[in-house]
Symmetry: C2
Subunit: 346 residues, 2 copies
């Protein structure tokens, strides 16, 4: 991708809507631009009560709003925060983005979303670098689309990392490890000795899913069980049945299946029922997400629930800390972030 963007040329040349500037405020208040700037930035420490009031009134009267461009230019950084969204079907991305955007909004920042669009490896980083260099954002919030190395690169370019840097173990961050572990242990607890992992067949590739499959394999090894099979499940009944059928033929019954999310888990569950396999006797299914859908249907889905608010809390705290000047947030993921929701499928 080149830098040139001819598209912008097509925009109307100069729809310049004036809008009051600090100079107008200064004139109206009978002071200088610098005084206006100081007052409006709350550096009122040593200004006469009266001047402050005059400036504020003038600003209000003119509906003065400082220009982000001017600010950014002189500060060398904008009030934008880039939100890097991974190329995965995350549960509840809307809620996550909304919660974070809301916090940042309160802090006076606007959120620029940056989606990982897949493509060549490193491609995402390149695009992100370009955005960072262009916008010089106040910071970056990563929802999991960046590796530690990539984060390093961005930070070394002078971009503050607002989100907590998750601890990676062999390429898997602690959140995914915790989820996959709980899934595997839960299945084993419920008596399954043959395990499998169900990935989502999707146009986008699913690094999280693959990581978690690896973790399930680790747990199996720990417990002395055979390595889990991995199956790819489409979100459509016939395909799901085919995939499950194949698994049952290969591994026999009973089998406990950890799924990459609740939708996949539903696909597997109803595929099993359609194949006349008993759930949970022959086929155990545990999902991830704990969203409402899995709890609405019969049989109710067993799943690993996590509260969006909780899981975003660390990010939000980090933001409040870095930008809002809040106290250093407590580290680590709370123990109860991921809980087993016992349904009827295990």
């Amino acid at each position: 991708m080149t830098i040139e963007s001819e598209g912008l040329a097509a925009l109307p040349p100069q729809p310049r809507r004036p809008g009051a500037t600090s100079v107008d405020v200064a004139r109206l208040a009978g002071v200088s631009r610098s005084t206006v700037s100081h007052v409006l930035n709350n550096q009122v420490t040593r200004f006469s009560e009266e001047t402050v009031e005059r400036v504020r009134q003038a600003a209000a009267q003119l509906g003065y709003v400082p220009s982000a461009a001017g600010r950014s230019l002189v500060l060398g950084r904008s009030d934008l925060v880039v939100l890097a969204v991974p190329n995965t079907t995350l549960t509840n991305v809307q809620d996550i983005i909304e919660a974070i955007a809301s916090d940042l909004d309160d802090l006076g920042c606007s959120v620029v979303v940056h989606f990982d669009r897949g493509g060549a490896p490193g491609d995402n980083l390149t695009r992100l670098q370009h955005v960072v260099e262009t916008l010089r954002p106040a910071g970056l919030v990563d929802l999991g689309s960046l590796s530690p190395d990539e984060l390093d690169v961005l930070e070394s370019q002078g971009c503050a990392l607002l989100s907590p840097r998750s601890q990676h173990v062999r390429g898997v961050d602690e959140g995914n490890v915790a989820i996959a572990r709980r899934q595997a242990v839960h299945l084993i607890d419920r008596g399954y000795t043959t395990l499998a992992f169900a990935l989502l067949v999707d146009q986008r590739d699913d690094p999280f899913g693959r990581m978690r499959a690896a973790v399930v394999a680790d747990v199996c090894a720990e417990y002395g069980l055979a390595a889990p099979s991995t199956i790819s499940v489409p979100l459509e009944p016939a395909g799901a049945q085919t995939a499950l059928c194949e698994l049952l033929r290969t591994r026999g019954r009973p089998v406990g299946i950890a799924c990459s999310n609740d939708e996949v888990a539903l696909a597997v569950t109803f595929a099993a029922l359609a194949l006349r396999a008993a759930v949970p006797a022959d086929v155990g299914v545990v999902g991830v997400g704990g969203g409402s859908v899995g709890q609405l249907v019969t049989p109710r889905l067993s799943t690993i629930g996590f509260d969006v608010r909780t899981s975003v809390a660390s990010v939000r705290q980090a933001i409040a800390h870095r930008i809002g000047g809040a106290p250093e947030p407590a580290a680590a993921i709370p123990v109860d972030t991921f809980t087993v929701v016992q349904g009827e499928t295990t």
Copy 2:
């Protein structure tokens, strides 16, 4: 909410990472800043082949990226596009935002998300106005959070409206009318003469749902049927059963229920089954969304499907037109945007 944002003050004063500027490029290429600017903006019409090449090489060599701040300042407008997201549980917001962000990215724009956070009426507009005045964005894309009046206000402030202005009929835009109509007509076609509308109980209020309930009422009137009841359904089995139970007691059976989305439809469907009501004989259910989940379970959900790509297409075309200089997009929603997905619940 006041304008002042003391939070920003807490940021490190000047983490100034220089980064090459156009002056550096000019020096290296042995030309002036203006030449660099012209060349890099593809105004190469009358520059010597050699100069152009030298400038480009120099820029590449230095990894030069123009500063958005500088650009915006002089142009009076930034390369940002504000995306206004409504305060509703839209289906697939992630996909919608991603598709639009992707298009805009290709056009050289970054997307700033702005969520309607509810609150006092007009509050959203105020916040949006502030953002628009501060950022002076290249345009605004509305996903449905703004009324025609509010759009007018924003446009009169010099903010270009990139998304198509949907035709509103008595406060309901044509998309929602089409959806609700299809739901109602479908239920009637399938033989239900008593209709109801199921709203989602949610922390956020659901204007779309209420609009669609009104449309269903209109259709009932047209067909000479009794006015539909409206029920509020929580996404949780017990509550859903309570709501449905009450409806059955009031309206008897059979009853056809149009739901505000597929999740609600699932809740209603499984609530009916739990109440030992026959689906679709006693209770007919039709959802909206057509997402995979409804098609995974048994009974398969009857629903009004719409392709995200299709439904965003008009927005994308409008963007391509306004910013990318693409040809005027064909008007109107394609007839097949909303299709009845015949499942087993009607």
